[in-house]
Amino acid sequence: MALVFDIGIVSLLIAIGAWMIMARDTLVAVIIFVVYGLLMSIAWVRLSAVDVALTEAAIGSGITGMLLLSAAARLRQTEGAGARPSFPVCVAAGSLCALISAGLAGVVLLPADVAPTLAPLAVANLADTGLENPVAGVLFAYRALDTLLEKVVLLLALLGVWSLGSDRAWGGAPALGAYVPPNDILVFFAQVLPPIGIVFAAYMTWTGASHPGGAFQGGTVLAVMWLLVMMAGVARAPPISSTKVRWLLVAGPALFLAVGFLGFVIAAGFLAYPVDYAKALIVLIEIALALSIGVTLALLAAGPPERTLQP
């Protein structure tokens, strides 16, 4: 019975993937991409990778879908105007894609006899971190440097988006959403949902130490709540020159880095934790990261500054 379900999911994924590539209209392709992400997260649950499933649903489908939707909306005017790529370009792109697909298929179909894995070691030493969720252990203890750099990359991406704004609008606010009348149903939604969402985000961040969840998923929920509030016009998007916003953006990575350097003094080295306080320090970092990730992702989706600062 489970096999029937799995085969069904996989065939749906392949069919929807093909449909996404075939779709002519960018907006349609993006909507199919969101559906694809949600199905993908069900596939991750079937593989018992609940952490990955949550991330796929929240980031792969949710925030990325929204980024792509706004990109598609901005491309609307230019679409159809450009000339079709020439025949040699089509052939080159097609053969390169086929090469990559063949390579991936080869890796999957002809695996090494014993797959290299560090999973038993990771689980055996998990008790030293005080965490119960092995994924959190990998993210914040074994591979903490990767996680730290990931957060810095997010900030760099935001700087990239901001730099797309015009000189006149620099320091201004992103223009998000159309005019919404004050008694609109979207306003009601933006007033009712965020309290629930904030509690949910806090729970997800907190529970990440011992169950699936964590700073990234919690931060994404925070980001979406803030985006809803901004789109409904309940609160305006802040100007990007706001000192408060900039502090919130760097708070998470800065705290992570500070604890990392503290590791030289109180533990074995950079990004090492003393055994007695490992869990407390990791949870502290996760809370700060969730806030920073929430603000970063929301501002990424809000787009470059377009409204000039009021003098």
Partner: protein, 91 residues
């Protein structure tokens, strides 16, 4: 007792699935957006509600049951509002 619970679950979930199928048929067959939305909301609200009701005996405690019920309530809220927004966008 457990046999009775099983029967209850099978009954409720099957009834929920019937609503999902009816909603999907409506989505495919109905002629315009408002009627299609009408069909979809039946699947979301009643169908999911019945599935949640059927699964309640297996949540293993009050907390798990509360989580399932809040999933349903949140779907009701977002479903109702998103349906309104879509209907207004196509009007």
């Amino acid at each position: 007792m457990s046999g009775l619970l099983h029967a209850f679950t099978i009954l409720a979930v099957s009834a929920g699935v019937v609503f999902f199928i009816a909603g999907t048929v409506g989505l495919v067959r109905f002629p315009d957006v408002p009627t299609r939305l009408h069909a979809l909301t039946k699947a979301d609200n009643v169908g999911l509600g019945l599935v949640v009701l059927g699964l309640l005996p297996y949540t293993g405690g009050l907390l798990g049951a509360l989580k399932l019920v809040s999933v349903w309530l949140l779907t009701l809220l977002s479903g109702a509002i998103v349906t309104q927004l879509i209907a207004r966008a196509v009007r």
